[in-house]
């Protein structure tokens, strides 16, 4: 790459001005305050968008009084010519000269977002240019005084390591995600292993075999019993059959007890009618008895009265003086005796009549008592009739149920008799078979339930095993993912190491070569990596601090370092040195001029100076003179 023209507009101390450059050495020569460093700054700003002097604001680079300044550079890269302009307000424009035409075509125009494109296309990187191409005033001491971390950042930027480290950081974050996922899956795996139970396959096979045997046995028994239907139904019907039979027997006994001497209900009802007829005919007994009782009472009264009169008449007859004891009148004995005889006769007649009525009364009372007994028996018999009717109804119903059950049972188990009555001895064998079948059925049902439970547990285990396998697959995958990210990180580390070796080792050799060319061979074993670009010197087996070198030695070493680094990084093809002989003694100044001339043999070199010895020492240089007050274009 060759720089061809510097173009300025309201930039620094320049209003509108351009300066053509040539191959070889370009010497910008002029007194102080004539704008030499401004030109160096303009080139650096046009290429990088940043001022060469750190901490200087962009707007400060514009001409005093101007709102904005512009620095432009024409350069040739290969066969193509380009124009790059930057304003102090951040505008960028890249133009390319059309082939066979003098017109410029705008490639892009815009803000600083174009810097990445410029870096990729032309390697206009701030760090590259600052470290390997430009030498500004006071840079050596500033570089030496830099903190290791700053130099490391510069080194990383120069080697492109900063971008690699950013990529590595992304991989580290990815590895972190993978680790988290891996831990989650491992935890899940552990929880599944703990809860996994033993396999039930053997137990299931054992139960299935046993069940099969029992079912065969059951079928065999069913065949013996002549059954093909549901055994449960047969068992239930048999039980119902027995229950009905017992109930019927109970009712028959109750009916026999209720009849109590009667042949049947009709006989009982005939007797009831007879009793009803008897009681109806004996309806006036109570009235007759009451009349008799009144008659007996009246006769008793008459007899008592007659007895008292007889006793009184007897007393009159038996009196001592023949006079009435009450009125003291004389008593007529014969008259009184006649009256007494009549009275006693009447009393005897009443007595006889009383005895006859008493006998009739006793008979009537016996009849009445017999009638009451009949009535009670009538009521009892009527109750029995009702009871017998109920029993008959129940018996009829039970008989129907019994017949139904017996019929169904007979269809299933023909050996069971269908007629009513107690279970006969002939039914004992089927009942025994039914009992055996019932027990078998119970065991079969129990085993079936057990089998269902085992199969459910087995299904759960199978599901867990499947999930375990799936989780294992996920674990394997996440392991590969995590290791892939680790590999990616390690790969970046190795790439960084490889880049450092690829770039820094040749740079160290280049420094050595330049030092030999400049007769500064007493320095040896330069290590750029350990101190992050600071040339670590090992002189005759002992480490030397660069700060302890003389000023001119530091200047020469640093220039050699810059040239070597530039070549190792892929030299852009030009160097820009701002007043490189400042503070150098005559010998070192001469060495510096010699260094510039040798550098110019391979590269374009732009040098600023106000030293007449430099001008005299570079007689073939393209001279650009600056004066304190610049003229317009």
């Amino acid at each position: 790459m060759r720089l061809e023209r510097i173009i300025l507009k309201s930039f620094g101390c320049f209003d509108r001005r351009y300066f053509d450059l040539s191959d070889g050495v370009n010497l910008i020569f002029g007194p102080n305050f004539s704008g030499k460093s401004t030109l160096v700054n303009a080139i650096f700003f046009a290429l990088t968008g940043k001022p060469i002097i750190p901490k200087v604001g962009l707007t400060a680079m514009a001409q005093s009084g101007a709102s904005s300044g512009t620095a432009g550079i024409n350069f040739r890269n290969g066969e193509q010519s380009y124009q790059l302009f930057r304003s102090t307000q951040g505008q960028v424009q890249l133009r390319q000269k059309e082939e066979n035409d003098e017109k410029w075509r705008i490639l892009f125009t815009g803000k600083r977002s174009a810097d990445e494109d410029l870096r990729k296309q032309f390697h206009f990187s701030y760090h590259h240019l600052a470290a390997a191409t430009f030498l500004r005033e006071g840079e050596i001491f500033e570089f030496l005084a830099r903190q290791p971390a700053d130099r490391r950042d510069v080194l990383n930027s120069l080697l492109g390591i900063d971008r690699l480290m950013e990529v590595r950081q992304r991989f580290i974050e990815g590895r972190r995600v993978a680790k988290r996922e891996e831990k989650r899956i491992q935890d899940h795996q552990r929880s599944m292993r703990v809860t996994t139970v033993k396999n039930h396959r053997e137990e299931i096979e054992r139960v299935e075999t046993e069940l099969k045997g029992l079912e065969s046995e059951y079928e065999l028994l069913s065949g013996k019993a002549g059954e093909s239907g549901d055994t449960v139904l047969v068992t239930e019907l048999t039980q119902a059959h027995e229950r009905f039979q017992k109930e019927i027997d109970g009712l028959i006994q109750e009916r026999a007890s209720a009849l109590s001497g009667f042949t049947d209900v009709n006989h009982l009802q005939t007797s009831i009618k007879e009793i009803e007829a008897a009681t109806a005919s004996a309806g006036g007994l109570d009235k007759q008895r009451d009349e008799l009782i009144q008659g007996v009472g009246s006769l008793n009264s008459q007899i008592q009265t007659l007895t008292a009169e007889c006793e009184t008449l007897c007393q009159l007859i038996d009196s001592d003086h023949g006079h009435c004891p009450t009125c003291h009148q004389p008593v007529q004995q014969k008259i009184i005796a006649g009256i007494l005889a009549k009275k006693e006769s009447a009393r005897a007649t009443s007595q006889k009549e009383l005895e006859a009525q008493q006998k009739t009364l006793d008979e009537q009372t016996a009849n009445i008592n017999a009638l009451r007994g009949l009535k009670q028996r009538h009521q009892l018999m009527q109750g029995k009739v009702v009871q017998l009717e109920r029993i008959e109804k129940q018996l009829a119903k039970l008989q129907r149920d019994f017949d139904g059950v017996a019929s169904r049972l007979g269809a299933l188990q023909p050996t069971i008799p269908q007629q009513t009555g107690a279970v006969s001895d002939e039914a004992a064998d089927p009942a025994q078979i039914a009992e055996q079948r019932r027990q078998l059925k119970y065991r079969i049902d129990s085993l079936r339930r057990r089998l269902v439970g085992l199969n459910k547990e087995e299904a759960v285990i199978a599901h867990k095993l499947e999930e375990l396998q799936r989780t294992q697959h996920q674990a394997n995958q996440i392991l590969r993912t995590r290791l892939s990210f680790e590999l990616a990180c390690d790969g970046v580390e190795k790439t960084i190491a490889s880049l450092q070796q690829t770039i820094l080792q040749p740079a160290e050799k280049q420094i050595q070569r330049w030092l030999e060319r400049m007769d500064l061979t007493r320095f040896s074993q330069i290590d750029l990596k350990s101190q992050h670009l600071l040339p670590s010197l090992n002189v005759e087996g002992s480490e030397r601090n660069l700060l302890l070198l003389s000023g001119s030695e530091k200047m020469m070493l640093y220039l050699c370092f810059k040239a070597a680094l530039s070549e190792a990084l892929g030299a852009l093809g030009f160097f820009v040195f701002d007043d490189p002989t400042l503070h150098l003694d005559p010998d070192r100044r001469s060495a510096m001029i010699d260094f510039i001339q040798r550098l110019a043999e391979e590269h374009q070199v732009i040098v600023t100076s106000n030293d007449p010895e430099v001008r005299a020492g570079l007689p073939d240089a393209h001279l650009i003179e600056t004066v304190p007050h610049t003229s317009h274009m």
């Binding site: 995600v177 390690d490 790969g491």
Partner: protein, 69 residues
């Protein structure tokens, strides 16, 4: 970085990854060609598009998909 190296960075990375696979048993026993290919592809992708535009999830998906094969 030299322009020549800039273009070769992907190849340098691939070489270094292959060296690691051959030398490190932990990678050798688990990772195969598809994983190595995915790692290199993810590296090139990140470098080409810039980490500002490439998220961790993008890289994770690229690498995880290859691990699931």
């Amino acid at each position: 970085m030299p322009s020549t190296l800039e273009n070769e960075l992907g190849e340098i990375y691939e070489r270094e990854v292959e060296k690691l696979i051959e030398s490190e048993s932990k990678y050798q026993s688990v990772l195969g060609a598809s994983e190595v290919s995915a790692v290199v592809q993810a590296f090139r992708f990140a470098l080409e598009h810039g980490v500002d535009k490439v998220t961790v999830q993008m890289l994770y998906d690229m690498i995880d998909d290859s691990s699931g094969d």
